[in-house]
Each structure stands twice: as C-alpha cells, then as structure tokens.
Symmetry: C2
C-alpha cells in the first residue's frame, strides 16, 4: 500500500522558484500553491462546509490539535468517526501539532525534554502534550496531514536559545515519526526551525530531511519580524526543501506574503487572518484593506470589492454590511468571512495560472501596485 | 388600482375556528396560518435570505421600525431602495410600529397624547416616535404590511389604565391611517388592545373595525399572563375580527401557542423565541425542548430531532452542535437557528394541511401528548 500523501510537480515558473503542483491525499487532490482556511475548533469560524466548498472553493482546511484536545476532547472526535465526519467536511484536513499554541501560553506552561505541561485556559486543569501525545491526538482526529510537535521560537530569540530549541525540535520530530502508526491513511510533516539564523536553518533542514517525512513545513517565520527578514529566511530555506514533497509555510495569510511564498517555491499556507479581520470589520479588496465598519460607508451602496464575484459582493452593499457590523449581527461577520476567504482562494487560483504562464513575478509587481504594497 | 394587501379564505376547519387562507401582498402570496421569523435589525439573526427561503421555507419575515429608525436610520434604508433591497429579501416583509419597543423602555421614555419621547439605548440621544413618525419610517422602509403605532399594556394593568391606553391606541390608529399615503404598495394593520378586559376588547374591536384597516392584529396578550388567561382573550377576540381580512397575533412563537392561535382563527404569528433560544443552546423538537448545550449530549451522535429533515438534522449530531455552543462558535448558533425556524415553519405546513382535513383539533391533542404539553 502507498503513502497517504504524495506530491506531483506539474510546472516550475521559468522566472522564479514558483511551483505548480498537486498534493494527493486520502480525501482528494489539492491544487497548489494553496491557501488553507483555518478551522481551529472543528469549524472555520462562521462558515458551513457547503459555503467553504461552494462560495470559497476551499480545497483543504486546518484543524487544531491543542484546541480539540481540550474541547471536545480527541476521544469524542474519534468516537464520532474522526474530524471529517464530526464536522461534516469530506475534503482534506491538516492538523497542526499543538506546539505553537502551548508555547504561546507563556507562564502557563513548563517545557521539559519529555514534553510540555500546561494549564487549560478554560478551567485551569493540568494538561500534557508531548510528541507521542500530539501524534496520538492527531491520529484520533484522523487528519490527512499531521504536523510534528515542534517548538516555535519567539521573535527575537538569541542564537543559543534558537539552537537548543531547533535541536529539540529535531529530537521531537524523530519521536513523532516513531509514534506515527497510520502511515497509509495519514501523512506526517516535519517542521524546519532555526529562527533567523541561516546556519541553524541548514542544520534543521539536514536533520529533518534525513528523517524522510512525506512533507516539510517552515516554522518560526512570519512571527513579527520585518518583511525583509521574513523574505530573507523564506528565500534561503525554501529552495533547500525536497523538490518531490509538499512545502508548507505556516501562519501566512496576507496577499503579499502569499505571493512571495509562492515565488519562493512554497506550496501551502494557512492563517486565521482573513476570518479574524472579517469578524472585526475589515475586508481584503483589490484596492487594499477596507474597514467597512467605518462611518464613511454608511451610505455606500457599492459592493465591498467591485472586482469580486463572491456571494457577498454579488448580493450586498458596504452600507448594509457596515450596518450589520455596527449592530453586532452575526450575518455581518459571515458576509465578510466569505468575502475574505474567497478573496484569498481566488488570489491563489490566479497565482496558479500565472505560474503556468511563467508570469508570477510580473503579476506580483502589478498586484503590489494595485494593492498599495511596498516591495 | 387595488389595495396592497388582500385576504382570500380557502377553507374553514369544520371542527374549530381555524382558517386556511392566502394573503396577497406586493411581494407575493403568503399561505396561512403562518409563522413569521423576526428580522429585527434588517437580518433574521444568523441567517441569510437564501437560508430562510431554502432551508426554512419562510414566506414572510418581520422588520423592526424602532431598531431601524435608530440604526442605520430609515433614510439610509430608503436611499438603498427600501428594506427589501437593503437586506436582499424579495418576499413580503411586515414591519412593526415601534410601539412595543418604546413602551418597553420604561423610565427612558415619556408618553404624551402626541407621541413618545425616548432616549436611545445606544448613545442616550433624544428621539421621538408618534403615529405619524412611525408611518413615515415604515413608508421609508417600504414593508408590505405596516402596523399602526399602538400602546401595549404590561401584564397586569388596572382596568382604568388599560381603558385609557386602549382609547389612545384607537386615536393613534386614526392618525396612522391619515398619515398613510402608499395605499397601493403598503398595507396598514390596526392593533386591537384592551388587555385582559373583554368589554375593552369589544370597544377596541368596534372602533378599529370602523376605521376599516386592511388587516387586524391582537396586541397585549402573550405578555406574561397564564396560558388559560391567554386562551380566554384569544378565543374571545379572534372570532370577532373581520372574516375577510388577515388576523395577526403578535409575539407568539411556542408550538402550543401557534396551534392554539390557528384553532382560534388566527392567520399570522411572529416571535423572536426560536432564534433567541437557538443562540442560547436550546432546540425545539418533536419530543419537547432539548438543551443541547448540556453535557449529557457530549457523546450523543444522533441528530437534534430524529423526525426533522432540516439541514442541521441531516448533517450534524448533537455532540457536534454541543461542542460548537460550548466553545462559542457562530456555527452552533446558526445550526440551531436553522433548525428551530424550520421546526416552526414545518409545524405550520402541517397545521395548514390539518385545517384542510378539518382535523386540527385532533392534531393539537396528539401534538400536545408528544411534545409534553398540558392542555
């Protein structure tokens, strides 16, 4: 029997490192490069699965090990028949390992070589995640792609701290691989760490590639550093990742970062940004960010983004959406979530076409101009 | 040119006062008896228009003059092309007059013969509603059915207070009728008051019928009184309402009250109850109320209501919905809102069939038994 996750390279942009490919998963194919909406707690916030398929055209979504471990508990999801069945989503799911979330807990957690003990933010109860436990949880969830339990350094971190953390990430990656039993139904990706130190990135790459995971992610960038620092590490690391396996950049969701990731040769990105800013009243548009909550739009009877053909833009005005947000109506958050997610999936549709035409660099420049980004 | 609102009587149940009819409106026909979902702030909470049509099969919804007058302001809705266009709903809309809401403000409002001065609950600003102003606002909104600006007595109220209030309601109804100019595009219903005093109900009926409105509502019951008191006034008042016009019972939305209203000869009811309890985690089912938020349902992988065929019951389990509510996910409120609204519209589909078969009384008895109500 074959591996759960395989990658097929279709085309490389002649003028950049951008790759057009397909990831084959047990729940269907994913055309790459791709943006993946985040469904932290077994739901992409405010959305139904049908909306994700029909309005957003999402090919794959994320679930969150840390959150689902605490609530409802992975055993309940397992009893339900796995995360796909529990949440009524039949396309691929990627689960993160919970590492990023437990490390973000600060004083509420204690890290040892064995794993991380932490207090639940819900009821203060003591909990424990380790490489083995994370894989156990992710196997209960039954995601198509599991992530290795890693340690993500904050920005900035010293060389010594970053090195120790990267080395531990490698040791934990090995333990994750050993704990992984569902090889034919679930893939497992290693996460390259090493912060903003290129020699540490090299060591991490070498050690993790030696472990031969079905796919690799870059962790520990897009964590608050300046854009040039981000690009430097992205462009340094990505080309060194295996060509025959999916390359995933974690936590990226702004239009410019998504395009830069694709240019560098990344296949997959995810971020809570589009749905989070939606719930707070901001739309992504072809002319930049639009804070539709602002009073300016009270009598603006045009769509959020005149160039967009999403459900929201076809049927509702800025004035209406602004009113809904202003009076805290759920529909306002729904309409903006649909729009922002569709904006990004459509952007990636375009990115894939531009790669096929060896034109992603030119497209980036035009898009930056229009969207008002500095390169 | 004809009147905006007309009523066609199709059949009267031989064993009760229940009527099967059709209300013709500028935005289409409404099969009665009907339950109308409430869209207070230009949205039925958590729902899109398509969901209301396709999942709930709602024929008509409500809008709220008081809320829309304050936010976004009726002039903005008018500029948008009216409430239908503003909220993207092309079926009939009924707007209440704002009377019930301003009277509920207690100390924040002052009633005079001229109208009601009140403080906005949003910013404390002074505002004013009167019969003329309420009609002006409702004409800006462009609803198919407007309601006269009335005074709704709290329960209990003294005979004297109720009498004075009822008499003022009549004078205000007359002023509303005089202010009403869009006769061919919008109907206007009078509201029968008189509290729990039958002789006052008789006077209110007589005076309002003399004003010849296109439809009539019963106000001031289902305001906290015991069920037998409710039924007493309902069954006393309804048969005295004009036979050739729609009869609307305001603020009723529990299954038993809806059936009792239909039995008495009521055509239309509305209530925020199904969507409100949905957002707090309670489902209406064929076996009574189900507080799905409870821990009992953590591992219950059956639908909310096994007899229901709604989107929610076809696709999701109690365990999943319970999880969503437990972690405050919008989708949980959405799924319960869809279910509860569909539960009531489907109940009314059934009520209409039972009337056609002269069987509503028997159905009521069976339903009460199953649902666990006392008659």
């Amino acid at each position: 029997m074959g591996e759960a996750i395989t990658y097929e390279l279709l085309h490389v942009d002649k003028n950049s490192g951008a790759r057009r490919g397909v990831i084959h998963t047990p729940h269907g194919d994913v055309q790459t490069p791709i943006f993946m909406p985040v469904g932290t707690q077994a739901t992409v916030k405010a959305m139904t699965p049908e909306e994700l398929k029909e309005m957003v055209e999402a090919q794959i979504i994320l679930g969150n090990t840390y959150h689902l471990f605490l609530r409802p508990g992975h055993k309940i999801v397992e009893k339900a028949g796995g995360l796909h069945k529990f949440m009524n989503w039949d396309r691929p799911i990627l689960t993160d390992s919970g590492g990023f979330q437990v490390f973000s807990l600060g004083k509420l957690r204690t890290i040892t070589e064995e794993g991380v003990e932490f207090r639940s933010y819900i009821d203060g109860s003591k909990n424990y995640l380790s490489p083995e436990k994370s894989i156990e949880v992710q196997q209960s969830l039954g995601s198509d792609i599991m992530m290795a339990f890693d340690e993500c350094c904050p920005y900035p971190s010293t060389y010594d701290y970053t090195k120790k953390s990267m080395e531990r990430t490698t040791r934990w990656a090995k333990r994750c691989k050993e704990a992984w039993t569902n090889k034919e139904t679930q893939g497992l990706f290693g996460i390259i760490q090493g912060g903003f130190y290129k020699d540490l990135r090299d060591i991490s790459l070498e050690q993790l590639i030696a472990l031969d995971f079905p796919g690799y992610a870059i962790g520990g960038i897009s964590v608050g550093e300046p854009k040039e620092t981000f690009l430097d590490i992205l462009q340094y690391t990505t080309p060194k990742m295996p060509e025959n396996k999916p390359r995933y950049l974690m936590g990226v969701g702004t239009p410019d970062y998504l395009i830069e990731a694709a240019l560098a040769g990344i296949d997959m990105c995810d971020c809570v940004l589009p749905t989070r800013i939606a719930r707070h009243g901001t739309a992504m548009t072809h002319n930049g960010k639009l804070v539709v909550r602002n009073a300016t739009y009270a009598e603006d009877f045009t769509p959020l983004d005149p160039e967009c053909d999403c459900y929201t833009c076809k049927n509702y005005t800025r004035a209406y959406i602004r009113h809904l947000l202003n009076v805290n109506e759920i529909l306002g958050m729904r309409l903006l979530s649909i729009h922002n997610l569709r904006f990004l999936t459509k952007l990636m549709d375009r990115v894939r076409i531009e790669i096929e035409n060896d034109n992603l660099l030119n497209f980036r420049d035009e898009f930056y101009k229009k969207y008002g980004y500095e390169k």
